[in-house]
């Protein structure tokens, strides 16, 4: 990956980080301020635990994985990572905690947070979430994250596709909204939501044996479309 001062051409592949299609892509947890706080606060613990610089991109990546992993494994779509293997690699290749970050690393940090903001804008979702972080790491292609995901050969489009497919399979677990709740979430009148449902633009379901309508959380995005910033100037 570009400009990583810790890269060594003879470094062995991170064998436990593997790429495979999974049938079930569990939803990433809701993000927002809790996610940013969790990752940020976690970076200090990563620095202490692994002896790497707690502001580095590697610390950011490991902290993110710790936040989003279950039982020591991070899994989303075609990406499955063993957290212990990633942390071991961070200890071996990361910027040591007692050394200053180089200019390249500072620039990578700037680019990373810009990419997170860009992913949020593209998605149209209100809060920054784990998917935004994951795609930003992939697009940045820097440090440990760039190396690991590069070795897996996974592209951002595959992750985005898995996000769309995975959300649709969460029928038993996914939050359901009444038309009123959907209207509040979207910031529109409930009659607008009902009109969308009648026109087929917004998919809805009835509870068995009842007239009550419910909208899946994953279907709410169908009434959002990304805005080109050029339109707003």
């Amino acid at each position: 990956m570009s400009g990583d001062s810790s890269e060594r051409p003879d470094a062995p592949p991170l064998a436990a980080a593997r790429s495979r299609e999974t049938e079930h892509s569990p939803p990433l947890t809701s993000g927002g301020g809790d996610l940013i706080r969790s990752v940020s606060e976690g970076m200090r613990r990563v620095g202490d635990d692994l002896g790497i610089h707690d502001l580095s991109m590697d610390a950011t990546f490991v902290s993110f994985l710790r936040h989003a992993s279950r039982f020591g494994v991070f899994s989303f779509g075609p990406i499955t990572l063993d957290l212990a293997v990633v942390e071991d690699a961070a200890m071996r290749y990361g910027v040591p905690g007692d050394q200053p970050l180089g200019r390249d690393e500072d620039e990578a940090r700037e680019r990373f947070w810009g990419l997170v903001a860009e992913e949020q804008r593209r998605s149209g979702r209100r809060a920054i979430d784990e998917l935004h972080f994951l795609l930003a790491f992939m697009r940045l292609n820097w440090g440990l994250a760039g190396r690991i995901i590069g070795e897996l050969g996974v592209r951002p489009q595959q992750v985005e596709g898995a996000a769309r497919a995975g959300a649709g399979r969460q029928e038993g677990l996914e939050k359901l909204y009444t038309p009123e709740e959907a209207a509040e979430y979207l910031g529109v009148h409930v009659q607008t939501v009902r009109a969308w449902i009648r026109s087929g633009r917004l998919r809805a379901h009835r509870l068995v044996g009842q007239r009550a309508l419910r909208v899946r959380a994953s279907d709410l995005g169908s009434v959002l479309e990304p805005v080109d910033p050029a339109e707003l100037r």
């Binding site: 301020g33 940013i36 706080r37 990752v39 940020s40 606060e41 200090r44 502001l55 500072d106 940090r109 700037e110 680019r111 947070w113 810009g114 997170v116 903001a117 860009e118 920054i128 910033p229």
Partner: protein
């Protein structure tokens, strides 16, 4: 907790650069126990961003700016004033007066005090 106003010079007012800086500022704010970003205002004409923070000290704010890699110019302690002070809205820590604020002196029948 004291409130501070910070002036930051931003040469690059590109929205992407500003958003990246804002996110770095937010992320780094969580590294401090008593530092909270309240609001920022961008002045595109003057190429400055004025930020309002709650913090324990100016030193914390300068360290925060260093960690977040954002500019940090003038830092000054300020007092917050808002319409809720006059409109009887609930504010945190507000104390209701127990007596009238207007004292009417008693007078004699002749009108003397």
């Amino acid at each position: 907790m004291p409130i501070f106003m910070i002036d930051r010079d931003f040469v690059d007012h590109d929205s992407a650069a500003v958003e990246s800086a804002a996110l770095r500022a937010l992320a780094c704010s969580y590294r401090f126990d008593d530092l909270r970003w309240i609001r920022s205002f961008a002045d595109e004409e003057r190429h400055t961003i004025t930020c309002v923070y709650e913090a324990a000290s100016e030193e914390d704010l300068r360290e925060h700016a260093r960690l977040a890699m954002i500019p940090c110019g003038d830092v000054r302690a300020v007092t917050e004033i808002g319409p809720e002070m006059f409109e009887g809205r609930e504010t945190e820590g507000a104390v209701e007066p127990t007596t009238s604020l207007i004292h009417v002196p008693s007078t004699t029948r002749d009108g003397e005090l």
